[in-house]
Amino acid sequence: MDLESEKELVFRAKTDADAFGLLYDEYYPKVFGYVLNRTASIETAKDITSEVFLKALRTIKRFQWRNISFSAYLYRIAGNEIKNVYNRNKQLNLIKQDIIISEIINDVSVNAEIARLEADIQKHEDFLLLHKCIVKLPGIYQEVIVLKYFEKKSPGEICAILGKREGTVKSLLHRGLKKLKKLMEDNATF
């Protein structure tokens, strides 16, 4: 979707549920994929993705278009939610209590799907070993590394998502890789 059509869609989504649905269709896989790459847990990715879209829905009327893709806003919310869950040991209790999505979280068919996908993930040992080291890094380095190498985002997109200047992103990436390298060298599995 080009930026102009997205702008129009976001504007419509402020008053039109169907337009919000189109935004959801466009970005659900991206948000889910990003959270999964950050957390390596289908269950957590499901909960955080639910929270991201619920927050997006609740703030869509206030969202101000600034020529940056709406996905950057969603990635930003996702990043903050991940931080809340992992860095602060804060559980997603609020989401689970939310009247809108509590039923989905407890849905039996969803749980069966989660179990199947969790089993699939366990087959990707390289990823899991790498992920084990990445999660030991401070949050900001995790974000920048996952966005760059797993999400294949361009430097401009990373700047938009993190709300940082290009120079800052480059130095974060440089420092993050250095730290990751050290962690991996210290880890006997690599």
Partner: protein, 288 residues
């Protein structure tokens, strides 16, 4: 290990695309079914908050009650306010809360990292704003020039925890934002007349909160709670793309007077205006 090897590992280790089809479908249905409720929740909450207290007060003073009752009520209210203000100022707990929030910030690993890499003097950390939230207090603590730590303190357990560390970036305020501000201010006929007579605005201030937080109970602090002032960034700057406008202020100089206009950006209405001679500090509220 060489850098190239690490990058190769990273590039090849990505998980294949996985999707929870049932969750995707159910979540979409739930969101769309609740679209009207969820997307209007914040806006209506702001409106709802104003009604009860104001209607009780105005109802009381407009009623046919004897004048002595109204006078007594006013005196009692003033005394109560003074006692409350004194009690709050004298309470040692106020300072303790702040110290606890500051301690939680300084002990946070992410903040430690920021301080270490940014070579920030810990003495420069300061509380930028304090807000009432459900069951507690929320502190916004400024770390250097570019970060804010958000710390929540529970009223019941006195436990403090960092909720988030946010980046602050500055970008120019758009002309459209300024125009919107002038449009809202022009609903006041006096200000409209001043602007139409050629007076120019010489300073803008916008106050912001993070947009992603504007839907939560966090938005309850707005104006009524008096829990603290929100952020204020001068002139041609705002805080990041992801912050939403909360309040705005600007000044107009006209015929030896300085006019001040304070606007609520959530309800897009004027909160107050005041006027004072340019060379005097004391302001007189002319509209409220």
């Amino acid at each position: 290990m060489k850098n190239e090897d690490l990058i190769k590992k990273l590039e090849s280790a990505r998980l294949p695309e996985a999707e929870l089809h049932t969750h995707r479908r159910l979540l979409k249905t739930a969101l769309l079914e609740n679209y009207a409720y969820a997307s209007n929740k914040t806006a209506t909450a702001a409106k709802r908050r104003r009604i009860p207290i104001m209607s009780i007060i105005t109802g009381f003073f407009r009623s046919d009650r004897p004048a002595w009752q109204k006078a007594m009520a006013s005196t009692f209210a003033v005394i109560l306010l003074l006692i409350t203000a004194l009690a709050i100022n004298m309470s040692p707990l106020v300072r303790d809360y702040e110290a606890m929030a500051m301690e939680a910030t300084l002990n946070d690993p992410e903040v430690k990292e920021i301080i270490e890499y940014g070579e920030i003097d810990t003495d420069t950390l300061k509380i930028d704003a304090v807000f009432d939230i459900e069951n507690g207090i929320r502190y916004f603590i400024r770390i250097g020039e570019g970060k804010i730590a958000i710390v929540d303190l529970s009223k019941w357990t006195f436990a403090s925890q960092i909720v988030d560390v946010i980046d602050i970036e500055t970008v120019p305020i758009t002309d459209a934002s300024k125009q919107k501000l002038v449009g809202i201010a022009s609903t006041n006929l006096e200000i409209k007349a001043i602007l139409e007579s050629g007076a120019s605005i010489y300073m803008y201030y916008f106050d912001y909160i993070p947009a992603y937080m504007s839907s939560s109970s966090f938005s309850n602090f707005v104006h009524e709670t008096g829990g603290g002032s929100p952020f204020c960034v001068k002139d041609e700057e705002i805080i990041s793309d992801y912050w939403t406008e909360l309040t705005a202020r600007f000044w107009i100089e006209y015929e030896g007077n300085k006019y001040f206009v304070f606007i609520d950006m959530l309800s897009e209405s004027i909160l107050s205006t005041s006027c004072s001679p340019i060379d005097q500090e004391v302001t007189t509220t002319i509209v409220k």
